[in-house]
Amino acid sequence: MGNNVLVFAEQRDGILKKVAYEMLTAGAKLAADLGGSVEAVLVGSGLDGLPDMLAQYGATKVYVADDPALGLYSSEAYTDTLAALAGQVEPAVLLVGATAMGRDLAPRLAACLGVGLASDCTALEIDGGQLLATRPIFAGKALAQIKLNSNPQMATVRPNVLAVQEPDPGASATVEPIGAVTAQMRARVVEIAGAGEGEIDVAEADIIVSGGRGVGGPDGFEPIRHLAKTLGAAVGASRAAVDAGWIEHAHQVGQTGKTVTPNLYIACGISGAIQHLAGMKTSKVIVAVNKDPEAPIFKLANYGIVGDLFQVVPAMEEEFKKVLAE
């Protein structure tokens, strides 16, 4: 076993996920503590230029599996390609982003390698020469600290939580092409649907404006959408709003929706049920707008406004416009 940290640098359509940079930044520190270096692996098709980006965020070496057959994500081919690489380079730690792709890939890869997996981690450190991973359990009602007694020590990392270092434009990395293992691709992605409509996904957003039952109906999301547009934010929703059919499930935040960690979460007409809080309470700053001063969401909100959202939200939007124009 080596001392290196290997980061799976996820890309779709040639665009790297931000969590790749977050993992490289964290990985560099872990690698320093292990006496090794941080390396990255790219899997896909048409990946020119991406190794340079990864180098700027600390990767000393980038393995590249560039093959037309890997253009769309394949659970089996990505697993087999990465398993072959891991067998060859024997990293001490293997990190994957806890994205839709990473959460699909990592368990399959872990089982293929016969190793343990710490899922959706929010902190990583080296303790006694071993990875110590922290991850929320019970929808964030508790945190578990975990060690892995198999190699590589594998973890998926929750996006938007770990800090990113400033890129170093002068940095470079060794690039090493590796073979794609595509012998078995039974499950095949044939199409990506619904993408490219310009909507930001709540799971990836820096700012989220969310609406709950308090918006009163599908049209009640209009002021929420307007504010979101002004802020370049994603639109979130409570389950009550989703179950009422006012907005699609993709927007739902919470225990049976998405877990989000934006810098700013604005909850409008949401009471703050435990299952909703589970999905958003690690947001850096929370603003709540609710006409009931007793709503539980106010216990969690950094800033609370007691009032009618149909008055407050447009007033906020107007003020944001002024402030952003300054």
């Binding site: 994205t99 089982a111 343990g116 997996l117 899922s119 959706d120 993408a195 299952q275 700053v285």
Partner: protein, 262 residues
């Protein structure tokens, strides 16, 4: 069409989780069927209604889980294999997947294994996918729409990804993990509840699945929980006083000048 459904018992999502001495306090917790596993079971039942065949539940968990599992039978599943032996318990995702895979291998022909997207206690979202790799089956996870062509032994699924969905085609048998939105789980009928206790409920130990004690449960785990901690406290909330428009303006300025998030 024969389906296997992996069903786990978990604490009710309303449950208060208290951490004491580095452990979760178990007293007072109410247990339920993992909500995502209800979507998984509903989907299996739906395809059974169309294509016939059998729906078999497999659950790894303590003796206590019997009541939750009965709900699965009351919803309409035909039989249960419960890995209730002590040796199976407290495993990580890998050890759990290994035990479930060994059990499923003993069950004869099946077309699909349905799991939940994730169990809402450990939130790993891993067991179903690991199961697929161990059994050498294809999988598709986080599925919000599914079509099965039982004659062609194939399926077409939509799975949620950031900002859209992947459309995935795969041959059966396969592992499918269910996302909310896939269907509306039924409530057990009175008749279903009455019949549940008459259905085959098989408890299995190590010998039945053919694994050794050190391959499963805590002993077979590749992951060790060093400590369980309460989550960090958030500072107490602050209400911004004033008329709604005035409070709105104040908050915008606080977000810029104090919180520095815009």
């Amino acid at each position: 069409m024969n389906s296997i459904v992996c069903l786990k018992e978990v604490p009710d999502t309303e449950a208060r989780i208290e951490v004491r001495d580095g452990k979760v306090v178990e007293e007072g917790i109410q247990y339920v069927v993992n909500p995502y596993d209800e979507f998984a079971l509903e989907e299996a039942l739906k395809w059974q209604e169309q294509n016939g065949g059998k729906v078999t539940l497999v659950s790894l968990g303590p003796e206590r889980a019997r009541e939750s599992i009965l709900k699965g039978l009351a919803m309409g599943a035909d039989e249960v294999y419960h890995l209730s032996a002590e040796a199976f318990q407290n495993g990580d995702s890998y050890a759990t997947a290994k035990a479930l895979a060994a059990a499923i291998s003993k069950l004869g022909e099946y077309d699909a294994i349905f799991c939940g997207r994730q169990a809402v206690d450990d939130d790993n979202a891993a067991v179903g996918i690991m199961l697929a790799e161990i059994l050498d089956l294809p999988h598709v996870s986080v599925v919000s729409r599914l079509e099965i062509d039982i004659d062609a032994k194939s399926a077409k699924a939509r799975r949620d990804i950031e900002g859209g969905q992947e459309v995935v085609e795969l041959p059966l048998p396969a592992v499918i993990t269910a996302q909310k939105g896939l269907n509306e789980p039924r409530y057990p009928s009175f008749r279903g509840i009455r019949q549940a206790r008459q259905k085959p409920f098989v408890q299995w130990g190590l010998e039945d699945v053919g694994l050794a004690a050190d391959e499963v449960g805590a002993a077979g785990s590749k992951l060790e929980i060093v400590a369980v901690l309460p989550p960090p406290e958030r500072p107490a909330g602050r209400i911004i006083e004033g008329e709604p428009d005035e409070a709105a303006r104040k908050v915008v300025h606080l977000l810029r000048d104090e919180a520095k998030v815009i």
